[in-house]
């Protein structure tokens, strides 16, 4: 945990936070008052329709978490809704309706939804699958569930489903209020969650999944858990739907309904929580009123609006309204509107930890007989290599020699074709990057790989996720970073830009930020792929001095791929020359620089 008495390096933001919290509390209370008082003003038909819409809005809300925040485009949320609905429908129809059975059906719906979601996540987020594969699985799921319900004969009621089963005997007003309160509270909880430190992780996964994994975050686990939780919420909404309407039909599971939820979210505004809720309420209510009088035209209008929103304003309607409001407030009412800012943040130094390799005494990296083939093309062959703590080893060689491929093989167990690799004494076997990171590895990519939509402070905090479990409800007001990361930040001036969105940084600042993020992991082995490419001379020297200090003071082991031989000569303790997938030379700076072989290779001669 953070040391409260640590010296504060920098602070940012502050005053807007309490105002935001007050607004949130007021909005929640207003929402609750609205749903409790609304039955006095509404006629029975509208209330009837709206109760259903409120349950649909819950689906839109959780789909927004999946798609809007985390980037998982799911067509299959409907399947979980149907699982919850049929849990009650089947139990009540075949076993009768008693309090015990109602509770058992509820629990069964939750458990089945969670299991199916876990299976879906296991399938959808497997390694090496294409991004489109999530769509394949979430399309297959509702189709399978729907076909299963259709072929269930008398048991599931086939195409006509089940209806008229016994259920809770409640007034329509009570149903409405329960649905409304559930929606308001769930929206408020989601609001708190997405603004918490854990919520930022979702955005980080959406923005750059690869970077997350190389920061030691198991994105598969994050996404699977999110899938399970959203599936369970959808199942509860389905259960309530069945209890209220006493009708369940296979169409509830279909991907057509699943896609309709996507339409609500897209129109309302993905990634805004409130937008999808409003989208679901407006469109479902509209369907009920206009779907009767002008049925095809209404659906046509929704279709047109959907296409237009996706093409022209992918952020949906809500951001449009809120910016219009801001404009109106600023120009007509001449009243400044508070823009949500980062909560006050203090940057402090994390207590130094003993690095993993220093503790174990094993070599930082050890490679035996590494090979990598693409079909019949051998990119790496027979690589034997070891590096110890306190070494700065540069990998040099002409383009295509296999330098970056070697880095990739060290950082991801699935990459290599043959051979063995250990990091700080741990065999990486076929383990994914996040597990390699847990062994003490840090990797900086050739092009700056950061989270564009997050602030500099949030990027750094995501990098600390494996050290400090992020809170699900609030934002930590201090950010503790190891000294090495702080050095990079202060030396490059990033400490004065903590609240700036990462996409607005310059090229050099982005490179520095990524380096700081990797150093925030407190790695024992640092892989750097051309860290100085595109940097100015002074930035280059700065990074060089930071690296040499890390190696000297913290006994880090650094592997560096670099084309700038002057830079290499200045900072390396050892140089390895790769040529055509093999190590041709491994020695001190003087040995390599003076070698005729190296000159031959770089001059294009035959080695």
């Amino acid at each position: 945990m953070t040391d409260r008495h640590a010296p504060v390096i920098a602070t940012v933001g502050g005053s807007a936070a309490s105002k935001l919290q007050f607004g949130f509390l007021a909005a929640t209370l207003f929402g609750l008052a609205l749903v409790i008082l609304a039955p006095y003003a509404l006629d029975t038909y509208t209330m009837n329709v709206l109760t259903r819409s409120l349950l649909y809005a819950i689906l839109a809300l959780v789909l927004d978490l999946l798609w809007g925040y985390t980037g998982i485009l799911s067509y299959g949320l409907s399947a979980f809704f149907a699982i919850g609905a049929y849990a009650l429908g089947l139990a009540s129809t075949h076993l009768g309706f008693t309090p015990l059975i109602a509770v058992a059906a509820f629990a069964a719906g939750l458990v089945i939804a969670a299991l199916v979601a876990a299976l879906t996540g296991w399938l959808a987020f497997g390694r090496g699958v294409t991004p489109l594969y999530v769509s394949v699985v979430t399309l297959a799921l509702p189709i399978v569930v729907k076909q299963g319900l259709l072929s269930g004969g008398v048991f599931t009621g086939s195409s006509s489903g089940l209806s008229g089963f016994e259920s809770f005997d409640l007034e329509i007003e009570t149903w409405f209020r329960m649905g409304g309160i559930a929606l308001v509270i769930l929206t408020a909880l989601c609001w708190i969650f997405v603004r918490s430190d854990a919520g930022r992780v979702l955005i980080a996964v959406r923005e750059n999944e690869l970077r997350c994994r190389y920061l030691g975050i198991s994105t598969v686990r994050v996404k699977t858990w999110l899938m399970i939780v959203t599936a369970m919420i959808a199942a509860v909404a389905g259960y309530a739907y069945a209890a209220y309407t006493v009708v369940v039909a296979p169409e509830l599971a279909g991907f057509e309904f699943g896609t309709e939820i996507l339409i609500w979210v897209a129109l309302g505004g993905r990634g805004t929580l409130l937008g999808p809720v409003i989208g679901a309420l407006v469109i479902d209510l509209g369907s009920a009123y206009l779907g009767g009088s002008i049925p095809y035209v209404w659906k046509l209008v929704v279709g047109l609006a959907f296409v237009a929103v996706i093409v022209v304003m992918p952020r949906g309607f809500l951001p449009l309204f809120s910016s219009a409001w801001r404009w109106l407030a600023a120009t007509v009412l001449r009243k400044p509107v508070a823009v949500a800012m980062d909560a006050g943040l203090r940057l402090v130094c994390a207590p130094a930890q003993e690095t993993i390799s220093a503790a174990s005494g094993a070599p930082s990296v050890e490679i035996r007989q590494l090979s990598k083939r693409f079909g019949s093309l051998k990119v790496l062959e027979g690589i034997d290599f070891a590096a110890s703590p306190g070494e700065l080893v540069s990998l040099v060689g002409p383009n295509g020699a296999g330098k970056t491929t070697m880095m990739r093989c060290i950082a991801d167990g699935a990459e290599r074709s043959g051979g063995e690799i250990t990091i700080t004494g741990h065999d990486i076997a076929r383990l994914p990057p996040e597990r390699c990171v847990a062994f003490g590895l840090g990797r900086k990519f050739q092009t700056a790989t950061i989270f564009d939509a997050l602030s500099v402070a949030d990027c750094l905090r995501i990098a600390r996720t494996s050290h400090e479990t992020p809170s699900f409800v609030h934002r930590e007001t201090s950010l503790a970073l190891p000294q090495a990361a702080l050095d990079v930040i202060t030396a490059t001036g990033l400490d004065r830009m903590l609240g700036v969105e990462a996409r607005q940084l310059s090229h050099g600042e982005k490179q520095a930020l990524e380096l700081a993020m990797v150093l925030a992991l407190e790695p024992s082995v640092l892989l750097l792929d051309e860290p100085t490419a595109g940097l100015t001379k002074s930035e280059r020297m700065l990074i060089g001095s930071i690296l040499t200090r890390l190696v000297r003071d913290h006994a880090l082991c650094v592997l560096l791929v670099e084309h700038d031989l002057d830079f290499v000569r200045e900072i390396s303790s050892r140089i390895v020359v790769l040529h055509q997938g093999r190590i041709v030379l491994d020695g001190t700076v003087d040995e390599v620089v003076g070698s005729a072989l190296v000159r031959d290779i770089y001059a294009g001669g035959h080695a």
Binding site: V136, L139, A140, I143, I310
Partner: protein
């Protein structure tokens, strides 16, 4: 036995014809066109409209292809082009377009089910078994589809440009190939083929506004397991279509109808490149 083999081959042929347009769009543009279902439906109604006009069913073939291709041109310009860099949004937008096409058709024709007279009907004797003549025609049609598309890709200048874009779009653009034009023509061709396929399958099924949706998902799965190769699509259609036929006849038609979806999902998990050989 003979009839089962014929069932497998003709089912595969129908799947091939239905999925071909989706495949070339995916191959070139790396975009899944979910309006494919809408275009199929459109083709079905082209056949209906041709019949209503009292024209020979053969006229429906050029009419539906041209109609589909023209609609495809408009759609490419208005909807698909702005979404090149957002492939997942392109799926959603084209799905929305499918809804629009379905609703427009419903507004014009109502939701009812229509039937179109088949130009070729009756059965023919194949090795001692009588078999639906039209399904056998579809076998020929599928082969024609494959041959013509391969001829265009490998025998024309546009085909050469298209193959260059498939392999490496950035490089192709660097060499002065107008990849925008290639995409435009590809999408239009894909829409035309989808519409044509919709016309060709009408003698085998009824025509209604949801005609295309049932085919869309299977076509989507086939394309994903085939990558961008017409040959892989042939293999995928025979293997997955064959599984569908066999499971339907030996187990239960409901399982059969899910066969393609489930097998494709499992295959892609185990082997992300599917039937493509890279």
């Amino acid at each position: 036995m003979t009839s089962q083999i014929l069932d497998i081959l003709t089912s595969a042929a129908i799947l091939y014809v239905v999925a071909a347009g989706l495949l070339i769009v995916f191959g070139v543009m790396k975009i899944i066109n979910f309006a494919h279902g809408g275009f199929l439906t459109m083709g079905g109604y082209c056949a209906l409209a041709t019949a209503d006009l009292g024209l020979s069913p053969l006229f429906a073939i050029p009419i539906s292809f041209l109609f589909g291709a023209v609609v495809g041109m408009v759609v490419e310009r208005l909807i698909v082009r702005p979404l090149y860099s957002r492939p997942l949004d392109a799926i959603l937008a084209t799905w929305g377009l499918g809804i629009i096409i379905g609703q427009l058709i419903t507004l014009i024709y109502d939701r009812g089910v229509h039937f179109v007279q088949s130009p070729i009907s009756g059965a023919v004797d194949v090795m001692g078994e009588s078999y639906s003549q039209y399904r056998l025609v579809m076998l020929v049609v599928a082969i024609l589809f494959g041959v013509v598309l391969a001829a265009v890709l490998h025998g024309t200048r546009l085909g050469l440009m298209t193959r260059a874009v498939i392999m490496n779009e950035d490089l192709a653009r660097g060499l002065g190939i107008d990849s925008g034009l290639v995409r435009f023509v590809t999408f239009s061709l894909g829409a035309g083929l989808a519409s044509l396929a919709g016309t060709l399958i009408t003698p085998l099924s009824s025509v209604d506004p949801s005609l295309g949706i049932s085919w869309l998902v299977n076509a989507f799965m086939l394309v994903l397991v085939s990558g961008s190769s017409l040959v892989s699509l042939g293999i995928a259609a025979v293997v997955l279509g064959g599984a569908q036929v066999l499971i339907s006849s030996y187990a239960n038609p409901v399982y059969g109808s899910m066969a393609i979806v489930i097998l494709a999902a499992v295959l892609l998990r185990v082997r992300p490149q599917g039937f493509a050989n890279d």
